[in-house]
C-alpha cells in the first residue's frame, strides 16, 4: 500500500507576519514549522506503515528551503520526499496550488493521499478537496479516525454535532485534523538518515496534464486587493484589586451596561 502525504512548510505565526510589497506573504523572512494538521496526517500515514507496511512518501510545494520540512518528515519515518519547486509556481492561490500538487501526484503511485485539513497561514481548508476533484477521486475531509478494510478506508468524519462513519474505496483522499493523533518525535537515527537521504526535486516540466494557465500567480482565479495588519479594538480598563473589590467592580459595570 502506498500513501502520499501532502505537507506544507508554514510560517510560525507566533513569530509575526511579514509581507512583500505586492501583498503576498514574505515566506523567506519568517521562521517555519511543519503545518500541525499535516503533521497529524503524516502520523496517521506512519501508523499505516507500522501496521500494514505502507510506503509513505511526503510531497510538498514551495521554495527550495521547503526541503527542510521533507527531511523532518523523513526523520519521523517517511520513506521518500518529493519537493516541487519552480519560479513559475509562485504566488499560487488554492486553485493553482491544487493543480500543481495534482500534476505531481499523477506522476506518483498512491492508494491513499492524506493532507492536513488546513494550513495555519492561509486557513482555507481548500487544497485537499480541490486535489481530489482534479484527480477524480473521493474525498473525506475532517478525519478524526482512520482504518483500512480491504480496498477501502473507513473514516470518522467530524461535523458540528455529530460524526459520520464513512467508507470510501481507494484510491481516495482524506484531510486530517490535528486532533487525529499525537505525532511522534524524530528519532536520532532518523535524523541522521534524513540528513543524507535523497530528496526528489521536481519542476514545472515534471507536472503531468496541467496547463500553464492553471499555475502560479497567473493561473490563480483569486487575486489580492489588499492585505493589512488587523486593527484590533483598543483595550478597555484594567484593574488590580482584592477579590471583594473585583466583584464589586464587575457587578458595577454590568449594572452600568444594564446587563443586570
Amino acid at each position: 500500500m502506498k500513501v502520499v502525504v501532502c505537507i506544507k512548510q508554514v510560517p510560525d505565526t507566533k513569530g509575526g507576519v511579514k509581507f512583500n510589497p505586492d501583498g503576498t506573504l514574505d515566506r523567506a523572512a519568517m521562521m517555519t514549522i511543519m503545518n500541525p494538521d499535516d503533521k497529524a496526517g503524516l502520523e496517521a500515514a506512519l501508523r499505516l506503515k507500522d501496521q500494514y507496511g505502507a510506503e509513505v512518501t511526503v510531497l510538498t510545494m514551495g521554495l527550495p528551503k521547503a526541503e527542510d520540512v521533507l527531511r523532518e518528515a523523513m526523520a519521523m519515518g517517511a520513506d521518500k520526499g518529493v519537493l516541487v519547486t519552480d519560479r513559475v509556481l509562485g504566488g499560487a492561490d488554492t486553485w493553482a496550488t491544487s493543480q500543481t500538487l495534482a500534476g505531481a501526484l499523477r506522476n506518483m503511485e498512491y492508494d491513499l493521499i492524506i493532507t492536513g485539513r488546513q494550513a495555519i497561514d492561509g486557513d482555507t481548508a481548500q487544497v485537499g478537496p480541490q486535489i481530489s476533484e482534479h484527480l477524480d477521486i473521493p474525498v473525506i475531509s475532517y478525519a478524526q479516525n482512520l482504518k483500512i478494510e480491504g480496498d477501502s478506508v473507513i473514516v470518522e468524519r467530524q461535523f458540528d454535532d455529530r460524526y459520520h462513519v464513512l467508507k470510501a474505496k481507494m484510491p481516495c483522499l482524506i484531510t486530517a485534523l490535528a486532533e487525529l493523533n499525537e505525532p511522534r518525535y524524530m528519532t536520532p537515527g532518523g535524523i541522521f538518515d534524513a540528513c543524507k537521504a535523497e530528496i526528489t526535486v521536481w519542476g514545472r516540466a515534471d507536472l503531468k496534464d496541467v496547463e500553464d494557465s492553471n499555475l502560479g500567480l497567473k493561473g490563480s482565479p483569486t487575486q489580492i486587493a489588499k492585505a493589512s495588519d488587523k486593527v484590533r479594538k483598543g483595550a478597555g480598563e484594567k484593574v488590580n484589586l482584592d477579590p471583594a473589590e473585583s466583584v464589586d467592580y464587575i457587578v458595577g459595570k454590568l449594572k452600568e451596561k444594564h446587563v443586570i
Binding site: 509581507f19 497561514d121 481548500q126 480541490q130 483569486t222 484594567k238 443586570i260
Partner: protein, 348 residues
C-alpha cells in the same frame, strides 16, 4: 468565459435533518445587500431529500427565488452528490456570486464545487461588499467595477486580506457563521420555487455512510447565547468548570471554552470559541483564565462587552477586554456568582 452571462446572487441554503441552518438566513441577508448594490436578486439553493417544505422559510427571510434540488441520494450530507447538485445549478443558472456557509459542510463542499467549475473560492469571509478591482486605478490595468470584494482574516488572525475574483464566475466565498446579519423574518411569505434535478447516479466518488453518531448534548448552541462564560487553561482542571456553570446559570448564559480546554479533554469541541472553533458575538463574554491567543480573539472579539479575569496582567486578553480584572479567578468567580445572585434576587 463570457462574464456578462453570469447574473444574480445565489446562496447555498444548508439544511441538516430537514432543519434549515441559521447560516442560510445570514447568507440571504448579506446576499440581499449585495444584490441591491448590483440591481439583481437573491436565489437560495436548497439541497436535500423531501426539503420542498422548507422553501417558504427561506422566502420569509428574503430569498427572491428558491431552487430546490430534491433527491433521495441527498438525505444525509455527502460530498459528491452535493457537489454535483451545486455544480449543476451553477452550470445551468450561471450566477455571478455564489455564497456558502463556512460550516463543516460548506468548507468541504465549497472547494470541491469551485474546483469542478474552475473558479476562485475565498474561504471564511467576514466581510463582503461590491466594489472596484483593483481598488484604485492602476496604469495599464483595467479596473473592473461591480466586483465582489471578499475580506477574511488570515495567518491565524494576524492579518486581514481582501480578495477579488475578477476573471472567473461565479465569484465564490464561504462565509463565517455568526458574522452576517439576517433580515427580519416576514411570516407568511411564500417562496417562488423552481425544482431542478440534474440526476444522481452513484459512482466511485460516492462514499458509503456506515453510521451517523450524534453527540448527546443538552446545551444550547453557544453561537445563540446572549451571555457566555468562557473558561481557559487557567481553570486548572475540568472540575473547576462547575463555578463557571454556576455563574452562567445565574445570568441565564452558557459555558464555552478555549481550544486548550478542548485539547486537554475537559470540554467537548462544540463549546470551543476561536479560529478553529466557533465565532460568537454575545452581549457579554466572560473570559476566565483565558490568556487570549490570537486564534481565540478571532472568535470572540466582536462581543458587545468583554469581561476578562486573569491572574497574569500581561495576558493578551486584556488588550481586547472592556473590563479587565487582574486576580485569582478561584476567589473572584464564586464571590461574583453569589453577589449577582443576591442582586438579581433583590430585583425580583
Amino acid at each position: 468565459m463570457n462574464l456578462e452571462e453570469y447574473k444574480g446572487v445565489y446562496v447555498f441554503a444548508q439544511q441538516v435533518d430537514n432543519c434549515v441552518n441559521n447560516i442560510a438566513f445570514e447568507l440571504i441577508g448579506k446576499g440581499k445587500d449585495l444584490a441591491e448594490a448590483l440591481g439583481t436578486e437573491v436565489t437560495a439553493v436548497l439541497v436535500g431529500s423531501n426539503v420542498r417544505d422548507l422553501a417558504d422559510q427561506l422566502a420569509e427571510y428574503g430569498a427572491d427565488k428558491v431552487i430546490v434540488v430534491d433527491d433521495p441520494e441527498l438525505k444525509e450530507y455527502r460530498t459528491e452528490p452535493y457537489a454535483h447538485a451545486l455544480a449543476s445549478v451553477i452550470r445551468k443558472y450561471k450566477p455571478e456570486i455564489f455564497l456558502v456557509g463556512a460550516t463543516a459542510i460548506g468548507r468541504d463542499l465549497g472547494p470541491r464545487v469551485s474546483a469542478r467549475i474552475h473558479t476562485g473560492l475565498t474561504a471564511d469571509c467576514t466581510q463582503l461588499e461590491i466594489g472596484d478591482f483593483p481598488l484604485a486605478p492602476v496604469p495599464g490595468k483595467e479596473q473592473k467595477h461591480n466586483q465582489l470584494l471578499m475580506t477574511r482574516p488570515a495567518f491565524g488572525g494576524n492579518t486581514i486580506a481582501t480578495i477579488a475574483c475578477p476573471d472567473f464566475r461565479p465569484q465564490m466565498a464561504t462565509v463565517r457563521p455568526g458574522v452576517m446579519q439576517k433580515r427580519e423574518r416576514k411570516p407568511g411569505v411564500k417562496a417562488n420555487v423552481e425544482e431542478f434535478n440534474p440526476g444522481f447516479t452513484p459512482d466511485h466518488k460516492y462514499v458509503e455512510i456506515m453510521d451517523v453518531v450524534k453527540a448527546v448534548t443538552n446545551t444550547v448552541d453557544i453561537m445563540d447565547a446572549k451571555i457566555l462564560v468562557s473558561g481557559g487553561r487557567g481553570m486548572g482542571g475540568p472540575e473547576n468548570f462547575k463555578m463557571l456553570e454556576d455563574l452562567a446559570e445565574v445570568l441565564g448564559g452558557q459555558v464555552s471554552c478555549s481550544r486548550a480546554v478542548v485539547d486537554a479533554g475537559w470540554k467537548p469541541k462544540d463549546l470551543q470559541v476561536g479560529q478553529t472553533g466557533k465565532t460568537v458575538r454575545p452581549n457579554v463574554y466572560f473570559a476566565i483564565g483565558i490568556s487570549g491567543a490570537i486564534q481565540h480573539l478571532a472568535g470572540m472579539e466582536e462581543s458587545d462587552i468583554i469581561v476578562a479575569i486573569n491572574k497574569d496582567e500581561t495576558a493578551p486578553i486584556f488588550d481586547v477586554a472592556d473590563y479587565g480584572v487582574v486576580g485569582d479567578l478561584n476567589k473572584i468567580v464564586p464571590a461574583l456568582t453569589e453577589k449577582l445572585r443576591a442582586e438579581l434576587a433583590k430585583k425580583d
